[in-house]
């Protein structure tokens, strides 16, 4: 019983670590890694926290949900990485425009007031 608790606690820690990485890092690849880790943490909690029949493995319903989740996570990571590489081509760096690191030296100030957040 105590083993499952260890995995539930680890799941919560992995989720929070992934969340911090997703929110805190500006590099898009770390954001994608972070979202994947958040998913892994939730999967751990789903399976480890589910009550189980004595003498049997994990509850099959969360197992099926997590199986589905793993496959969808792989597919969405592929799509996210593809879009991140497009961002590199379009804007010259793996960052969202508002997160881009220090501007180059020859930056020119825009001639009109910035019309809100630029995309």
């Amino acid at each position: 019983m105590s083993s499952e608790i260890a995995y539930v606690i680890a799941g919560a820690a992995v989720f929070v670590a992934g969340l911090v990485g997703t929110m805190g890092r500006t590099h898009l690849f770390w954001k994608i890694l972070g979202v994947n880790f958040m998913g892994s943490g939730i999967f751990l909690i789903l399976i480890a926290a589910a009550p189980r029949l004595p003498g049997e493995g994990a509850d099959p319903v969360p197992q099926a949900m997590v199986l589905t989740g793993i496959v969808v996570a792989a597919a969405s990571s592929a799509l996210a990485l593809g879009m991140a590489l497009r961002v590199v081509v379009r804007s010259g760096g793996p960052f969202l425009s508002e997160d881009a690191p220090g501007p180059p030296a020859e930056r020119t100030e825009p001639e009109v007031d910035s019309p809100g957040p630029r995309t």
């Binding site: 105590s2 083993s3 260890a6 995995y7 680890a10 919560a12 820690a13 992995v14 929070v16 670590a17 992934g18 990485g21 805190g24 890092r25 590099h27 690849f29 770390w30 890694l33 972070g34 880790f37 892994s40 999967f43 751990l44 909690i45 399976i47 589910a50 009550p51 189980r52 029949l53 049997e56 099959p60 319903v61 099926a64 949900m65 997590v66 199986l67 589905t68 969808v72 792989a74 597919a75 969405s76 990571s77 592929a78 799509l79 990485l81 593809g82 991140a84 590489l85 081509v89 379009r90 804007s91 010259g92 760096g93 793996p94 960052f95 425009s97 930056r107 009109v112 019309p115 630029r118």
Partner: protein, 356 residues
């Protein structure tokens, strides 16, 4: 003995958290990606310990294998793209930008994360243990599905609806990746280069047939033991990735008729079965009495092929061609990519070409 097992569980859990924390904090992208793969493998160990062998199989083949290969592939392209690849400029694979904010903000972030983690853990540990109602339910009515592996029974019997939409999500992801860009397949190795790498070639030639047979076995045994369409498809896709990356197989052509047919075949059959049997059963995705086993097996076989093709396609078709426009190197990255200034109504008032 039980103390030893408990110690193993606690070490796996601690290792998992340490690996994830390190991957999120490191500044080296390659290190983070390798740690991601290590997390996948540790996680599959955790699944085995939690009594979920089906999930462990999928995690090892997909979470660690195929997704890891995807990240490595994207890493390779990013490393080749960066302006730092040729001269000393910003290097995209070493992140120097993040976390350079003021110290107070970082302390506050870490503090908030700690509070969130402790709150989550307290809530989760405090949940009272209830009876395993769902597991009991599955056990008593598993006979209706015609299979004896409860996970397969849930996936293709009781909750076939979820699986149908999962396959939908995969097809949509494939189409979305196509619409981003047709990838160039420059990761495929030159046969000459392969001959100079006998370890990779020999290993691939040894592993690929065994893994292929194992995938067929997993589909077949999925009705009674650990295994099933997703695990087999993940394994098959892994074989495809290995064969393609080592240059033994020509990369499949994205959007080719065969890929389209194979990729959507599973979804099409699923919908046909769901709708086609309605006159007899009266409800969507219900199987007639006594036909559960046969229908599940056929569906699993076709789904395996479809999912494997989609996953391989997603790996190969990561959009590449990242030749950064040289004009972009000197342009403010926070503004319009081509350095134009836009007015409120979106009209172009100044473009760099006009200035010259």
């Amino acid at each position: 003995m039980s103390t030893l097992v408990w110690a193993l569980d606690v070490s796996v859990a601690v290792l998992l958290v340490a690996l994830v924390a390190r991957a999120m904090l490191t500044r080296d992208l390659l290190e983070a990606v390798v740690l991601f793969i290590a997390v996948g493998l540790t996680l599959s160990l955790a699944w085995v310990r939690l009594g979920a062998p089906d999930v462990a199989l999928a995690e090892a083949a997909l979470g660690a294998g195929v997704t890891g290969a995807l990240f490595l592939n994207a890493f390779q392209r990013l490393a080749r793209t960066g302006p730092g690849a040729s001269d000393a400029g910003p290097d995209y694979v070493i992140d120097r930008g993040s976390g350079s904010g003021c110290g107070v903000l970082r302390v506050a972030t870490v503090g908030a994360a700690g509070v969130l983690a402790v709150t989550l853990m307290t809530i989760l540990v405090g949940i009272p243990l209830r009876d395993a109602m769902l597991a009991q339910e599955v056990r008593t009515s598993l006979e209706q599905t015609g299979v004896s592996n409860p996970v397969t029974g849930v996936l293709l019997g009781f909750r076939a609806y979820d699986t149908l939409f999962e396959v939908c999500a995969l097809v949509v992801a494939m189409v979305a990746v196509w619409s981003l860009d047709r990838g160039n397949r420059n990761f495929a190795r030159d046969p000459k280069e392969l001959r100079e790498d006998p370890v990779l070639e020999t290993l691939t030639r040894l592993v690929a047939p065994v893994a292929g047979v194992l995938a067929v076995y997993l589909v077949w045994s999925g009705s009674s033991g650990p295994g099933g369409a997703f695990q087999a498809a993940a394994l098959l896709a892994g074989v495809g990735v290995l064969l393609t990356a080592s240059g033994l197989m020509r990369p499949i052509t994205s959007g080719a008729p065969a890929v389209r047919v194979l990729g959507t075949m599973g979804l099409a059959l699923f919908v046909c079965v769901g709708v086609g049997l309605m006159p007899w059963t009266g409800s969507f995705l219900a199987y007639p009495e006594g036909w559960g086993y046969a229908i599940t097996l056929v569906l699993e076989g076709v789904l395996t092929l479809s999912i494997a093709v989609i996953l391989l396609e997603l790996f190969i078709d990561v959009p590449a061609a990242p030749e950064v426009d040289p004009r972009l190197a000197t342009v403010d990255p926070t503004g319009d990519p081509l350095g134009r200034t836009l007015t409120l109504d979106g009209a172009l008032i100044r473009s760099p070409e006009e200035d010259e």
